[in-house]
């Protein structure tokens, strides 16, 4: 269970300007939930996710996983990044094995898990390929396999499909949902695409200006194909999200801190 209590995070840009990325976020996430964080760019979604991962320290407040406060990154909380983080200098097989080997897993066990997860993401024939030989979508699948292979209880995903084309994205949606259903892990998924949040999440947290402004239970039935997404309930949810985002915000005055600015 993930417990976020009054998380605050303030950055100072080198120009001297203070940016309050998180302004008191409090929420509890249960095991096995698929939670989507939705919001406009620069309103705190990525900051919250990185704080969950332990990559950004909080200015105040606390995040606890099953009672243990987060102090830094850990393989218990796997993360799939927005950018392509598959190591180009290792073959696919070694990439997926990376987390396992870092944890000191026996080599025979590692082999088994690697081939298992590669077949789970439908990349069995590519174990010995270089990442440069794969398309962007395939590399994302490698990243997903890597993170699942470590056995992390929680998966944090920061707009992982943002740079992919539409067809690839919907393919990966179904893949991710398939893996989630099979393994029952907790997933926190950041996206600015409301439709994507509707396809994926049990629960949508709407963030605006560093705070959670709405917590919606998405009780649409799975699989969420086009008919379900066009249903009245779905449309109501979408409208309410848009309203929540539109109300508290107005015109952007401050440029968002990019992920590369925040260390």
């Amino acid at each position: 269970m993930i417990d976020i209590r009054d998380a605050r995070c303030t950055f100072r840009h080198t120009s001297g300007r203070l940016v309050e990325a998180l302004r008191g976020v409090s929420v509890t996430i249960d095991d096995g939930e698929f939670v989507c964080l939705v919001g406009r760019s620069g309103h705190g979604k990525s900051t919250l996710l990185r704080a969950l991962a332990g990559l950004n320290p909080l200015s105040s407040g606390a995040i606890a996983f099953d009672g243990n406060t987060v102090t830094g990154p850990s393989p218990e909380r796997g993360m799939v990044f927005q950018e392509d983080t598959v190591f180009p200098w290792m073959r696919v097989h070694d990439n997926v094995a990376f987390g396992l080997r870092s944890l000191g897993t026996r080599e025979s066990e590692t082999e088994k898990l690697v081939s298992e997860w590669l077949s789970a993401v439908k990349l069995t024939g590519f174990a010995h390929s270089w990442p440069k030989e794969l398309s962007g979508g395939m590399r994302k699948r490698v990243a997903i396999a890597t993170v699942f292979a470590t056995g992390a209880k929680t998966l944090l995903m920061d707009e992982p499909f943002g740079s992919l084309d539409y067809v690839t994205r919907i393919t990966l949606h179904s893949l991710l949902l398939d893996l989630w259903a099979r393994t029952n892990r907790t997933i926190v998924f950041v996206t600015h695409d409301i439709e994507e949040a509707l396809i994926l999440g049990d629960r949508i947290l709407v963030m605006s200006e560093g705070q959670i402004v709405d917590d919606i239970r998405v009780d649409l039935k799975r699989p969420r194909d086009e008919e379900v997404r066009a249903s009245t309930r779905a449309v109501t949810v979408t409208k309410s999200i848009i309203r929540n985002l539109g109300l508290a915000g107005g015109v952007d005055e401050t440029p968002e801190p990019k992920s590369s600015d925040l260390r």
């Binding site: 605050r8 080198t14 600015d261 260390r263």
Partner: protein, 312 residues
């Protein structure tokens, strides 16, 4: 809180390890200087201690004052004077710096012009690829005797040598930079009706300026090596030559003095070039970083600054 002594204190406190490092080195030198063997055959001990470098050796520099003006000439029996020493150092320094600057400017200009000329025709550029690569790899310092054979062991030869060394670098750098100018700018200029010449002057040349200016730092080091090397081998004046004169008598004190002077000159020239380059390139955008503010401590946690060295 930014008064001068406060700032100096802050500077020292941040860099105390670096300062300690230098102090330790100098101390080791000093100890070595006092412990190293003296010999009647040599003018100074193997490692000259500091007081000797700035005392006797400095005075000894006046030996190299060979002009019958303003100070006595020890070489014909006159006394060693500090004035003579400073005059000698100034004279030879001026010579060396003159050669360096002339060669640098000459080489940069000719190298860049030739590079632009070759870049004019893409075919020529591809053709010159292999020979240029070879040319760059030929060891510069090994060619000193060759240049002195061609031009004599004099000012001209030193300047030409420096110009050659620097020119080759600029030649290659210009060709590389020109080929890297993004096609989209050139195409754009074409669609606006610009002639090839106009494109060259207004698009290609300004676009390659940043890369050329970063070459300055590299060629500066090269130019110093070239001019000192030339003075080591044949040319009979300049501070490189002073080191050799001192070396003949194993006068390490004098050698060290001139070397320290050289470090100062070289360092100053780097600073000047860096300033000039920064000024010319001030229109380039620089990256900004953010720092995390920790509310619970109410103090800033500065992020570690990671400077990226552009060129040595």
């Amino acid at each position: 809180m930014t008064t001068l002594p406060a700032r100096i204190l802050c500077y020292v406190r941040a860099r105390w390890i670096s300062i300690l490092s230098i102090v330790i080195l100098v101390t080791i030198w000093e100890i070595a200087g006092h412990l190293s063997p003296k010999s009647p055959l040599r003018e100074s001990p193997l490692v000259p201690p500091l007081e000797m470098i700035f005392g006797r050796s400095l005075l000894g520099m006046s030996d190299y004052w060979r002009i019958d003006m303003w100070a006595p000439m020890p070489v014909v029996g006159g006394a060693q004077t500090y004035l003579g020493a400073f005059l000698a150092l100034a004279y030879h320094s001026a010579l060396t710096i003159f050669r360096l600057a002339s060669g640098l400017v000459l080489g940069a200009v000719i190298g860049t012009l030739l590079g632009l000329a070759i870049s004019w025709s893409p075919f020529l550029r591809k053709l010159s690829g292999a020979p240029l690569h070879l040319l760059r790899m030929f060891p510069l310092l090994a060619m000193i005797p060759l240049f002195q054979f061609w031009f004599g062991a004099n000012n001209l030869s030193a300047i030409v040598f420096v110009a050659y060394g620097v020119g080759v670098v600029y030649f290659v750098a210009t060709i590389n930079a020109a080929s890297n100018v993004q096609g989209k700018y050139i195409d754009y200029a074409h669609t606006l009706g610009a002639s090839q010449l106009r494109i060259y002057l207004r698009v290609v040349f300004p676009a390659i300026l940043p890369e050329l200016f970063s070459s300055i730092m590299l060629t500066l080091g090269l130019a110093w090596s070239a001019v000192i090397g030339a003075e080591y081998v044949g040319v009979n004046s300049g501070i490189g030559r002073m080191i050799i004169w001192a070396e003949f008598f194993s006068a390490t004190g004098r050698m060290m003095l001139v070397t320290i002077l050289l470090i100062v000159y070289a360092g100053a020239s780097y600073l000047v070039c860096r300033r000039v380059a920064a000024h010319v390139l001030r229109w380039m955008p620089s990256a900004t970083r953010a720092e995390v503010v920790d509310h619970s401590i109410e103090a800033e946690l500065p992020m570690e600054d990671q400077p990226v060295m552009v060129n040595r």
